[in-house]
Symmetry: C2
Subunit: 130 residues, 2 copies
């Protein structure tokens, strides 16, 4: 089975990566970290740059388990890419990061997180940045 992490270059994405590494290592499962988005002419803030991608790959290479980083920037939406991976791989859990609600309490759950939670068949573990 595979632990899948939906990675974004923000604190909540790093929290999801930490948790995915912890679970995959403890359960001795394969870890796949995916960063995906349509890309395009505009800078997409969800897409990891080359420098950060290398740092993630270096970290995965130190783990005692099979682990890989995949990046998809080929026009499909993030949710399409994630659904495809969940359908293809045997995913035991998909780990996503959520932003912490501010003390003012106005934050709503992002549409991406809602799409993932509603559409993906496998269990979804939501963690917050420290």
């Amino acid at each position: 089975m595979t632990i899948l992490v939906a990675y974004v270059p923000r604190p909540e994405g790093r929290a999801a990566l930490d948790k995915g590494i912890e679970i995959a290592t403890r359960r001795n499962e394969r870890l796949v970290v995916v960063n995906a988005g349509p890309g395009g002419r505009q800078e997409d803030p969800s897409i990891v740059n080359g420098y950060e991608a290398e740092r993630v790959e270096e970290r995965l290479a130190t783990l005692p388990i099979e682990a890989e980083f995949k990046q998809f920037v080929r026009g499909k939406s993030t949710i399409e890419e994630i659904e495809e991976m969940v359908a293809t791989l045997q995913v035991s859990v998909l780990v996503i990061g959520l932003r912490k609600r501010s003390p003012v309490g106005k934050l709503l759950l992002g549409s991406m997180a809602q799409e993932i939670l509603l559409n993906v068949d496998c269990p979804v573990l939501a963690v917050k940045a420290a």
Copy 2:
């Protein structure tokens, strides 16, 4: 550490219970299953009746781990009760059930699930009914 399950008497609540039992047994952690809501004069569809509560308790009693069912119907909201338990117990993961989106795709994530995902500090595992 404790695995906490937010239980409702619907298929998604039963899916959360199954998953919570699986995780707590595998990890040999304490399991607490909570059913909570304000109650009141109107029938509250989230509140488990006495017959179902007994069935849950019987099932928990057969497990090889410490497991208990707690029901709170004392005027506080479900999210208040759950936040209090997460603050009091050492919760490693809170398990919740989500409804499956229909093929028409119109379902939005319920406000209760959103409140839990945004407000609770511990990791939240969301599972769907089979």
